[in-house]
């Protein structure tokens, strides 16, 4: 986790004017704020086919690139982007391009603490992952799904290890895909491999696999579970015990399975996005308890409140006692905490954030193009042109709110009590 104790939690407000950027550059793309709120950055067009990044009003480095996209701050505050120069692509970090260049680079990933940066790369029509600038030694004819371990030490991909031409359906059905951890493929071949997960210790790799056109299961370290299913969804490692759980479909309904055995008594019309509490003791998932109704189930028990359109962005509190999610009915979203929907409905809402002690919940929300924050079912008094997710101070007493208002980027430290009363 990123340690935010060294961040400035004292200064009430800091501003960066963005208006001058528009005058200085041909165009300014959408801005991104750093996790600590100290920097605001955007890709800017200098001239035809010439791009750089503007950070707090200053250019990012000396190099002007032919193209820049996917500008994002890493969790540890480094500014990254995918950049092209002289027809070659790579990652640039704080303005410095990685030494290795590629035919293309995409799907960047950060480790939880931000120290590791990975991406998928293509060179000479061969595919692999790159981790902190270093590509896999072994490359593949295709690579379709990607993963970076939580600790950032390992990367994985679903890779094609047998050439199959278009139209060779029977050869394809014998299996031409497998999964590779750090570039080392499993021995077993599958018809398909999807949605990879790497264990907390980085030693194990799990994936959804299709054994033939009809039989699906989960494979861990290249070994499929003995049970076969009509289909499966993404596997997840228990962060403490290392067991693997995945939603599995049998006879038209969904169940959760752990290491190939059905885990929850109850079956659902749909189960996905299962998640463990940080200590691994509780398991929750987004479920449809009946057709067209959605909610969250915790250890197999669904919340009584259900929603018609969508439930998304579920998250455990750090202590694992509480769960927050977003629920959509019709066209509007609400924050739901432990099954209780909050009062206000929004045109859009973002993943709720818990305070370190789990007592408070905050979320960025939007209505009619104006952004604000809702905290413990109360709404901040201001609305903004742009906003980023709220960040609780380490002691949970303050929120860092990063916004754009009237052409100014604003970093505010606001007491939680100012919003919740």
């Amino acid at each position: 986790m990123v340690d935010s104790r060294s961040w400035d939690w004292e200064t009430g407000e800091k501003n960066v004017s963005l208006d001058s950027w528009k005058k200085e550059y041909r165009w300014v793309e959408e801005p991104y704020a750093s996790p600590d709120g100290e920097k605001i950055a955007a890709i800017v067009n200098v001239d035809e086919g010439e791009f750089t990044v503007c950070v707090n009003g200053k250019v990012w480095g000396e190099t002007v690139f032919d193209k820049i996209w996917h500008l994002r701050f890493s969790p540890d505050g480094r500014l990254t982007a995918l950049v092209s120069e002289m027809g070659e692509w790579t990652m640039a970090v704080n303005g410095e391009a990685w030494e290795n260049k590629f035919g293309y680079i995409w799907e960047p990933r950060f480790s939880i603490d931000g120290t590791a940066i990975a991406a998928a790369v293509q060179q000479d029509m061969r595919y692999g992952m790159v981790l902190n600038g270093k590509p896999w030694e072994q490359t593949f004819a295709n690579m379709t799904y990607f993963a970076l371990s939580p600790d950032g030490r390992h990367t994985a991909g679903a890779v094609q290890v047998e050439d199959v031409d278009s139209g060779e359906i029977h050869k394809f059905q014998k299996g031409s895909f497998t999964a590779a951890l750090d570039g080392n493929p499993w021995d077993m071949r599958f018809v398909n491999v999807w949605n990879l997960a790497i264990s907390t210790d980085g030693e194990h790799l799990a994936a959804e696999v299709r054994l033939n056109l009809y039989d699906y299961t989960i494979a861990v370290d290249g070994v499929p579970w003995e049970s076969r299913y009509a289909t499966v969804w993404e596997p997840l490692f228990n962060p403490v015990t290392g067991t693997v759980v995945a939603p599995v479909r049998e006879k038209g309904t969904w169940a959760l399975a752990e290491n190939g055995k059905i885990l929850w008594d109850r079956r659902f019309v749909q189960i996905w996005h299962q998640m463990f509490s940080p200590d691994g003791s509780r398991l929750a998932a987004i479920v449809a308890p009946k057709y067209g109704r959605w909610t969250v189930a915790v250890d197999g028990v669904p919340w009584p409140a259900t929603f018609a359109t969508l439930v998304t962005d579920a998250t455990f509190s750090p202590d694992g006692r509480r769960i927050a999610a977003l629920a959509k009915d019709g066209e509007t979203f609400r924050v739901v905490v432990d099954g209780n929907p909050w009062t206000d409905a929004w045109d859009m809402a973002w993943k709720p954030v818990f305070s370190p002690d789990g007592k408070d919940v905050a979320a960025k929300v939007e209505k009619k193009g104006r952004y604000t924050y809702t905290v413990n079912n109360r709404v901040w008094s201001r609305s903004c042109d742009i906003a980023w997710d709220p960040v609780f101070s380490p002691d949970g007493t303050h929120l860092m709110l990063r916004t754009v208002e009237a052409g100014n980027y604003v970093r505010r430290i606001v007491p939680v009590s100012d919003i919740v009363g």
Binding site: R26, W27, E29, E30, N45, E48, G49, K67, W69, H70, G103, Y104, W106, E107, A120, Q122, Y127, N142, M143, T144, Q160, S166, G167, I169, H170, F172, F177, V191, N192, W194, R210, L213, Y214, Y216, A230, T231, R249, K251, G252, V269, Q270, W272, A288, Y291, G292, W294, A308, T309, L310, T312, K328, E331, D347, M348, W350, E366
Partner: protein, 444 residues
């Protein structure tokens, strides 16, 4: 059992079907049929089977029937009689040769266009019955090769044209660069979280028709739409697995599409001019996943253009001069009710619109839809000969002066191209987007 159709004279060789058939036993066939009927169908199938009184009123709804001089083998009820009824009646005890014929009927002689459902006095959805046949064919491993290959592409890449992960964003950036030669500050914003609209297309666009993405970008730019396109899987809204009977894969594709929209925090998904994709996100795929309605508002290109023009967000500099005729795609007209909006767009952008007859929800299918065009070259002539009536309909519009055929659907476009070419009708075929791009006001 009905007698073989006349077209059996030209026995098509399809590796997907023929190899699949060679692996079948009667025991396997019986097991699969009964498994699908017992565990995947219910009151709906039973009601349809027991309600049909064999009146044949559906016959004249079918373009295959009309195009084959009213041969009853091609009537919807005839096709049901040659497939699912027999499977039900014989409790699955049918031969591999029966399955071969059922695969050809279900996959190449029915477009699942649902025109016949409108003519059935009981409203029996024959497309559903043929879909059950396709599901059985899938489970037996007898799906036509080209369609199966497309499903394999979906399974690997989550798009229908084997477009690789890097090729997709690279193509968008190429089109952005091309368009910037015309409008210097135009962008195709990738991965822009919080945009109002996620624009999704089908894979033939980046693969063969990248100019359509260019045109869409110009329309978005001029209209001032806050939009984005995903750089990851989920960008392709198409779904041939829906037509190959691979429901599990259909659900996987739709989940990927909807969750990409959820990840990008958009409010709407605007789709390009594709009909079957609309059916997959608006009706079939969402419901298989447990959503009674899509989790995001789905806006087909016809409706999107309609709204932009009506709200004055794009203005027409000079209407398109050549007289056009408008083809109503089944999936967005019978399936989505967009026929009047299509006419609003057509009249707004064209000087003269000549109706073909029949039209709107009674229009004849293009004969490409329902995955039929995806069965590929072995069945191309089945498609073309099976839609002589469409050629006659188009000739009618041509006789009244139409020079251009507007078909706001990719499969319709391709299928109609074959019809127009084979029957030497002499109509140019365009998307709405082609014409809008040509006639709209653009920045100097």
């Amino acid at each position: 059992m009905a007698e073989p159709s006349k077209k059996e004279e030209n026995k098509v060789v399809d590796e997907g079907i023929d190899v699949g058939i060679s692996r079948l036993t009667e025991e396997k066939i019986q097991s699969v049929i009964n498994s699908v009927i017992d565990s995947e169908t219910g009151a709906r199938l039973k009601a349809y089977v027991e309600t049909c009184i064999h009146c044949g009123l559906c016959s004249e709804a079918c373009h295959y029937y009309l195009s084959h001089d009213n041969d009853p083998h091609y009537s919807p009820v005839g096709k049901v009689k040659q497939t699912i009824w027999e499977m039900v009646r014989k409790k699955g005890r049918v031969s591999p040769e029966f399955i071969r014929r059922a695969a050809i009927i279900a996959h190449t002689e029915c477009n699942l266009c649902k025109r016949c459902a409108q003519y059935c006095p009981f409203g029996i959805d024959i497309a559903y019955l043929i879909s059950v046949v396709r599901r059985i064919i899938h489970k037996l491993g007898v799906t036509p090769l080209y369609l199966q290959d497309t499903a394999h592409s979906h399974s690997v890449t989550m798009n229908q044209m084997w477009v690789k992960g890097d090729e997709w964003p690279d193509t968008l950036q190429w089109q952005e660069e091309e368009a910037q030669a015309e409008i210097p500050n135009l962008r195709i914003p990738l991965e822009k979280e919080g945009a109002d609209v996620m624009y999704s297309v089908i894979a033939p666009e980046p693969k063969f028709q990248a100019q359509l993405i260019y045109q869409a970008a110009v329309i978005m730019h001029v209209a001032g739409v806050n939009w984005t396109m995903p750089a990851s899987v989920g960008w392709d809204n198409s779904d041939m697995a829906m037509f190959s009977g691979d429901n599990e894969l259909m659900g996987r594709l739709k989940r990927t599409h909807f969750e990409t929209a959820a990840r990008l925090k958009v409010k709407k998904i605007v789709m390009g001019e594709c009909g079957h994709a609309f059916r997959s996100v608006y009706d079939m795929g969402n419901r298989w996943l447990g959503w009674s309605m899509p989790p995001f508002t789905i806006v087909h290109a016809i409706e999107f253009y309609h709204d932009l023009i009506k709200e004055g967000r794009i203005k027409i500099a000079k209407k398109y001069k050549p007289p056009i005729t408008l083809h109503d795609p089944c999936n967005v007209v019978r399936g989505g009710g967009l026929h009047e909006k299509a006419r609003y767009v057509a009249h707004a952008i064209c000087e003269k619109v000549i109706e073909m007859h029949p039209n709107r929800e009674h229009n004849y299918c293009c004969c490409a839809g329902g995955g039929v065009i995806n069965t590929g070259p072995p069945f191309k002539m089945t498609r073309i000969k099976g839609n002589r009536v469409k050629a006659e309909q188009l000739f009618g519009a041509k006789t009244k002066g139409a020079e251009v055929l507007v078909a706001p659907c990719h499969n319709c476009h391709s299928g109609l191209h074959d019809i127009v070419h084979h029957y030497e009708i002499g109509l140019d075929i365009k998307f709405f987007g082609d014409i809008i791009y040509e006639v709209m006001e653009k920045p100097e």
